[in-house]
């Protein structure tokens, strides 16, 4: 297991480089000139030329890439074209926010999605099943912006229960931080919960009719034990895969939700950066998300082995 992990971590390095080349190239191929936006409304040609030189935008793309990766290896990810802030600083500011939002939404999703999925599989064809399904699918089809704005209007404007938006760091005020994050995490969590619920239900249905579950039942084990110990464990593979993917996506940022609740996370940053062609910022974030995805995939692969001992022999 350790050797497996060590090998995967080593493989991750070329992967990250591959990803950075891919995104760098793609960005450079995009139409639109960032400097026309950056040079200000007047677009002074002298300034344009100077900025092109300064950010090495006149160099051939491979040279630009090598310069970027050279600096990146020394821990310098460049500065934002738009705000002149160092990208490392931007990431350091936003990573905790994004992770907090991701973890809280995932907790919502897991706590709602998995039990609901199990319940509706066990009670398949009953009213409970139908209700659970309809609720889950509404969670998926209600647009986040609608749910978000409605929650703000109701909870913050009308009842004045929670802050309408903003972000307080955990270290500054723990409970206030949790409170401000509650609504956005819920909004993001509902859609994820729907996905997890549907998959849990389907996987459980598959396992509940399997031989070993019948055997377990025949042995007279309590329904609780049968479901939680024998069935659920075998149904977990797609759930693990999905949770890993969803978490990775959450790290990449939830643009609309962040925008509505004005949470300073990655989502808004990356969208603005793409629109402004703020190359260094996009590269920096992609680097972080790539590490996130690789880590989560690794975790998922490791969990497969834990859940399915037979995989260990290979």
């Amino acid at each position: 297991m350790l050797a497996f992990l060590a090998r995967r971590v080593l493989i991750a390095i070329p992967t990250i480089i591959l990803i950075s080349v891919f995104v760098f190239a793609l960005q450079k191929l995009l139409p639109g000139d960032p400097l026309l936006v950056l040079a200000g409304e007047e677009r002074d040609p002298e300034v344009l030329e100077f900025l092109r030189e300064k950010y090495r935008l006149n160099d051939p793309i491979p040279v630009q890439y090598l310069a970027w990766i050279g600096n990146a290896l020394q821990g310098d990810l460049g500065v934002s074209l738009r705000t002149n802030q160092p990208v490392t600083e931007l990431i350091a500011q936003k990573l905790p926010v994004t992770i907090q939002l991701a973890v809280m939404s995932l907790i919502f999703a897991l706590v709602i999605g998995i039990p609901a999925g199990i319940l509706s599989a066990v009670r398949k064809g009953t009213v409970t099943d139908y209700i659970a399904n309809v609720v889950a699918l509404s969670g998926l089809s209600i647009p986040n912006f609608w749910l978000g704005i409605m929650l703000i209007l109701l909870v913050s404007v009308k009842w004045q229960l929670l802050p309408a938006s903003g972000y307080v760091p955990l270290s500054e005020d723990f409970w206030q931080s949790i409170k401000t994050m509650l609504m956005p995490a819920f909004v993001l969590g509902t859609a994820l919960a729907a996905t997890l619920m549907r998959h849990t239900r389907s996987a459980m249905l598959g396992v509940l009719s399997a031989d070993y579950v019948r055997t377990a039942r025949a042995k007279g084990l309590s329904e609780r034990v049968v479901i939680l110990k024998h069935a659920l464990r075998n149904a977990l593979t797609p759930i693990v895969t999905l949770t890993a993917l969803l978490f990775g996506e959450l790290i990449a940022g939830a643009v609309l939700t962040e925008q509505i609740f004005t949470i300073p996370g990655f989502g808004k940053l990356v969208v603005d950066a793409v629109f402004n062609r703020d190359y260094a910022v996009v590269q920096g974030i992609v680097l972080v998300t790539a590490v996130g995805f690789i880590f989560m995939n690794l975790l998922a692969d490791a969990l497969y082995v834990v859940l399915n001992p037979r995989l260990r022999e290979q």
Binding site: D33, E41, I152, S156, Q160, P163, A164
Partner: protein, 508 residues
């Protein structure tokens, strides 16, 4: 009285204890919501509208404007052009210090002008191009020597080019000044978290400190207009800029919210590619009758009513109809589909013609252009809309890779800024590449004269030509809308959209 006091104290303690940020009890911090996150906070490098709103509290300028666009003293107290208009002498305010304690004097002004003109990253070069030399005449007196008379100079000093940064801090930080800006405004820089907040703290040694009633100002970017208003209504913020016209009824129906408004200095319209590369060589670029037909095909009042809830101002010139520079001989045309069709037929297109218009991928421009599209269709003009993100739209426009483009201009205090660079042959942002020697002559003349009447005559004469040529079909002028907590008093709306906090207070 004592009872009231006790109540108030209790409320204050309560508010502090529970961390509530709503209401007048915590009057010492003012929270203002901006539509977007400002760019770099260096007056020489920045370029965004929201950035300028932050500067209004952070950096004083040499001169300021009144809501009626007259130039008034700020850091400069008096100024005078020489007889020949080739230089300007300014007297400076005494006893002013920058946030870092550096005294403000003529040397500081000279250093600032030098930085604006020579810093490689400076976006202010073209604005101060006319200044050829700066002479320090005394500790509080300075002279600017000019290459040619420049009527626009004072207006430039009323904006970013006139913002004074601490020369000590600017020399030390170089191009990184924006990370920790040091100016001489009513508030000093506290901290900035990108896309989260910018905090400014009261500057105790401000020369006009008595006019300032807040201990700090926090700017928070909230891009969604509905959410911005909801934040104001819930008490999370105290004030917001650029209320959406569609939100006006909701804002006005809330007794705790006041709405303020002023017509902006800018305009919105459709710029045609007249002579910018190959794509300028189309009937639309070559025949002004088609462009006039489009102008007649749209109903500007209906646009204002449908898209902007009647809150904006229909327009047909670079200046809004209420501006002293507006040429009243060419009023906003009424819609005339017959006339538009006749012009099309005259130009050889009796059966209609296609037109491709690029438009930014934001809600309002797209809504606007769909309305225009529908109106133009009735006159036989089939508009195809191409949505582009702004970076691409600008690049294509600058490269001439467009037929027509829906863009606008944020506006400048001096009329020159709204027209010269767009309509003169070598204008820096003349993307339509319109060129007419007579227009060049008139607009150049308006630039060098300091006589208002002479300038007005020049602009009026240029309008006579441009109204025929229509390289830009102007559509409307935005109205700037602010919504604020009704307990805030003394706020004045300015046509430049800035939020000036002098004299703004919380009502008891």
């Amino acid at each position: 009285m004592t009872q009231v006091k006790t109540l108030l104290t209790t409320a204050l303690i309560g508010a502090a204890a529970f961390g509530l940020n709503a209401g007048a009890a915590a009057a010492k911090d003012l929270r203002i919501a901006l539509q977007e996150d400002p760019d770099v906070l260096d007056p020489d490098q920045s370029r965004t509208f929201v950035g300028r709103i932050v500067y209004a509290s952070l950096c004083d300028k040499l001169v300021d404007i009144t809501p009626g666009l007259e130039i008034i003293p700020q850091l400069a107290t008096e100024w005078e052009y020489s007889e020949d208009g080739m230089s300007m002498t300014m007297k400076l305010r005494e006893g002013v210090v920058f946030h870092d304690g550096t005294p403000f004097d003529a040397e500081a002004v000279a250093a600032n002008i030098d930085r604006s003109q020579t810093l490689d990253e400076s976006r202010r070069k073209s604005e101060l191009k006319s200044i050829t030399g700066v002479e320090v005449l005394g500790p509080y007196e300075i002279r600017f020597n000019l290459a040619a008379p420049d009527a626009t100079l004072l207006a430039q000093f009323a904006d970013r080019a006139g913002m004074m940064m601490s020369p000590t801090a600017a020399a030390a930080a170089g191009a990184d000044f924006g990370a920790n800006p040091v100016c001489s405004g009513p508030f000093s820089f506290g901290e900035r978290v990108a896309q989260d907040k910018i905090v400014l703290n009261r500057f105790a040694d401000y020369w006009n400190a008595d006019a300032i009633a807040f201990d700090s100002v926090t700017f928070v970017p909230i891009p969604d207009t509905t959410v911005r208003l909801a934040n104001l209504q819930s008490g999370d913020i105290d004030m917001l800029e650029r209320l959406a016209p569609s939100d006006i009824p909701q804002a006005e129906s809330d007794p705790n919210v006041t709405v303020a408004s002023e017509i902006s200095l800018g305009y919105q319209g459709i710029t045609f590619n007249v002579n910018n590369g190959e794509r300028g060589d189309t009937p639309w670029g070559n025949d002004s009758r088609l462009r006039r037909a489009l102008s007649l095909a749209v109903d500007r009042d209906v646009i204002n009513q449908v898209v902007f809830e009647n809150a904006f101002a229909p327009g047909n010139q670079p200046f809004p109809p209420n501006s002293p520079w507006y040429n009243t001989n060419h009023p906003v045309p009424a819609r005339d589909v017959e006339q538009a069709r006749a012009l099309l037929a005259e130009a050889g297109f009796p059966d209609g013609i296609d037109l491709e218009v690029q438009v930014a991928n934001a809600n309002q421009p797209q809504q606007l252009m769909q309305v225009v599209q529908s109106m133009a269709a009735e006159a036989g003009i089939n508009i195809k809309l191409t949505a582009k993100e702004f970076a691409t739209l600008l690049a294509d426009q600058s490269a001439g890779d467009y037929q027509a483009s829906q863009v606008g201009w944020s506006g400048r205090v001096d009329p020159d800024g709204n027209i010269h660079q767009f309509m003169t042959t070598n204008g820096g942002i003349n993307d339509s590449k319109f060129s007419d020697p007579k227009v060049d002559e008139l607009l150049n003349a308006a630039r060098v004269s300091t006589d208002q009447a002479v300038r007005k005559a020049s602009y009026d004469a240029s309008r006579d030509i441009l109204n025929e040529a229509q390289p830009i079909v102007y559509l409307y002028h935005q109205k700037l809308l602010w919504a604020l907590n009704s307990k805030l008093q003394g706020f004045t709306a300015y046509p430049d959209g800035m939020i000036r906090l002098e004299g703004v207070t919380w009502a008891e």
